[in-house]
Symmetry: C2
Subunit: 453 residues, 2 copies
């Protein structure tokens, strides 16, 4: 994309009501614009990151064998009356009456709707196990929306629902989700620690939240420092292998890690003192096993191997897709702006032309731009007639991990400059070498193989 | 995808309230499930087609230089009061009050919101031309929702907004959209004819609707038979070339083609009698130029080259993404089910194993399945222990354009059967040849280049 043809309304100042850095930077980098309290438009740069994150979530869900679908945003109140949650849910539910005086609501979650789909179409245990998920906009009418997309009212979420014949099978689904979530967050450059949590209004027995450590987190967390040494890495996993998934679960949850809601001081005190940590965390996902709560209430049974109707064991599993943008920025920024991890960056490389209008510089930039596209990657080419300082400032704020700087002086020596946003280190090299290095960096993240369409 | 692990609830019977074939087949093929009047869940197969269509729309919009973003579903009533449409819009607007007694609404369209974004961020003519678009769920509280996704209440739509300094520039944006829409529909295997139309509540001077001819269409249309001979084909187009775009506009709109709303009998009678046609059509898109209607009302001005504030000329341009599934099925089906055009099919090929459990047949199917994936395409492998007739019936209903049938008898002769859903013709050939042919067919549609991830 050529910046002169893009829509990137970078702001010089932070709006006063933005109190945390991710909210400030998303506004300043021209990623979002508030349209009403807790409701945002995603400007082109923000939308690109949102799509990158959504794509990673889809890929990892499909890898785990989960099936994508899509439920609507507006639901009938009837199903919620059946489950008993219509009255329970409280003021956070956005209740709506249509022109025919029917009670509707903007879905804050989808247990009822998916259970209805299941009971309408599945009658035999032979169709199990089954995991259906969707990524859809949801609405929670927060009393005090704040922190930008971190606690918005309209938010984008992946929620998946598992249906199994037995508790044992359901726990495998639970473990499988934990594994897929570990992979998902790591691909986004995040360490998200599974912590034993409280189930809240969804209900349920077993539940873990995934928390990203950050000073601005809404939860106080207590953990054994050893959990931060764990990483899933690129290990191969067979999602059908019950033992393998259970071992990962054990590895990542055996050590103490809890939010304030489930904190147990005695257990915490038993951790060696030099490993006891208290910090703040941002919740970016949660997995639940809730047994037959909804299948009992709504009659979601299958015929079991014994021919008898058996209520299915269910779980629900969520990732806060729009919220992740805030969490990633909270975890990865400096005082100049955002630092995107390679896996989610909106553009893979920025090209800065130091002297727009200089024939050699323009040609070199154009050729680098084409070379990046030929790698199947996307460049943002700052072709505006602006001072170098302003171009660098924009690139630093929007946080592309790699920048190629092109100027007439360097070109005379046959070199351009490749700069890492994270370390700030620059290296001069011939343009072809810069392209080769960019290709190599992104291949390590599974990105860019052939020409982009 | 292995069918035994998929969620494809094919129905034997059509629900009674489904009166048109696309609605019937979408239900019978397990693509959608109604959750309340005019509101649908997209089951996995339906969701896959929806994503294919969305992807084509994105690709063609980006090709035309339009910039993707995303506006929220819930809007504040304030902006609509500013434009004067809050009261005008009538009962089709879903009006909502939140917990703090603020008036909200579920957006039926986005002129107000995009104009607000524009006026907040753009102050100079130098940022023009600008085209921003999004694909988002919308809601129109239809009095009588019907015909499945063709006239639903919650629907998925691409709407794009153009901002230009002059009417002349805005008309280029209008023509550019017409060109991009012709390409878009043709990639979906549809002939959509641009017809002069009425602007309705959006307001405006120039507007064309794109109509797909089908007996079940809601509009009566009148046209010169010569328009159906036109096709955009794979001609190369420079979207910045004003003349080139205007020529395409002229070519595709010079001949008489109008809906009943704008029909002019005298002009129609002037067409040679043997070319006069009356038919029904399904509206799948519309382009509008409406000048400064919203920029005047909402103060969206830029500083012009003369330094004076100038209201921008605007247009809005829509494609009914979810409705397109219905339109495609209305245009492409037979009495056995759907016939997907290659460009939008949920799976590129179906593999039917005639004797599940037979070691040779199972191995051959597995190997074909892997070979399709290696082409970067997706197969649906019917690996269920079912009769051949039932497997064929399912494949015919869900409408995959190509089917490979594998049985022990054929394998003894080294062949499988490749069948076209459209013509019903089958050909025996070695498995490698079937794969080569599949690869060739889809390459002609720009699909499948390397292994799918």
């Amino acid at each position: 994309m050529r910046l002169s043809r893009y829509f990137l309304p970078v702001l010089k100042e932070s709006p006063r009501d933005a109190t945390i850095v991710s909210h400030q930077y998303m506004l300043r980098a021209g990623m979002i614009k508030q349209s009403s309290a807790g409701i945002y438009s995603w400007l082109p740069l923000g939308f690109k990151v949102l799509k990158r994150i959504e794509q990673i979530v889809h890929e990892e869900q499909e890898r785990a064998g989960h099936i994508a679908m899509l439920m609507p945003t507006i639901q009938s109140a009837d199903l919620w009356r059946e489950s008993g949650r219509y009255d329970d849910y409280g003021d956070e539910m956005l209740r709506i009456t249509d022109r025919n005086k029917n009670d509707l609501l903007y879905g804050p979650t989808n247990e009822e709707l998916i259970t209805d789909i299941f009971r309408s179409h599945v009658s035999s245990y032979k169709a199990l196990p089954l995991t259906l998920y969707h990524i859809q906009w949801k609405f929670r009418d927060e009393r005090r929306p704040r922190f930008g997309v971190m606690r918005g009212r309209e938010f984008y979420m992946k929620d998946g629902y598992t249906f199994d014949l037995t508790k044992e099978d359901a726990m495998h689904a639970y473990n499988r989700h934990l594994v897929s979530y570990l992979r998902t967050y790591e691909r986004m450059g995040l360490q998200a620690i599974p912590m034993r949590a409280d189930s809240g209004p969804i209900g349920g027995d077993d539940t873990h939240e995934f928390l990203v450590l950050a000073d601005t987190g809404e939860s106080e967390v207590f953990y054994d420092a050893a959990v931060t040494d764990l990483s899933f890495g690129d290990r191969d996993i067979d999602y059908d292998d019950v033992t393998q998934c259970a071992e990962v679960m054990e590895e990542f949850t055996a050590k103490y890690a809890r939010t304030d809601e489930t904190h147990d001081q005695a257990l915490f005190d038993a951790i060696p003192a030099d490993r006891q940590r208290t910090a703040r965390g941002i919740e970016v996902g949660q997995i639940f096993y809730f047994g037959t709560k909804y299948s009992d209430a709504m009659g979601a049974t299958v015929q079991g191997p014994d021919g008898k109707p058996t209520p299915v064991h269910m779980g629900s599993h969520g990732i806060g897709v729009s919220r992740l943008l805030g969490a990633i920025i909270e975890a990865s920024h400096d005082d100049k702006g955002i630092i995107w991890p390679e896996g989610v960056t909106p553009f893979h490389v920025g090209i800065v032309n130091l002297k727009q209008g200089d024939a050699d510089a323009d040609a070199a930039c154009q050729s680098l731009y084409a070379a990046v596209a030929a790698l199947g990657l996307e460049a943002l080419y700052d072709d505006r007639d602006e001072r170098a300082g302003s171009k660098f400032g924009t690139m630093d704020m929007i946080g592309l991990p790699w920048r190629i700087t092109v100027g007439p002086r360097g070109l005379k020596n046959g070199v351009v400059e490749l700069t890492s946003r994270k370390t700030g280190e620059s290296e001069e090299m011939p343009p072809e070498q810069a392209i080769a290095k960019i290709g190599e960096i992104y291949r390590a993240h599974g990105l860019g193989s052939g020409p982009s369409k």
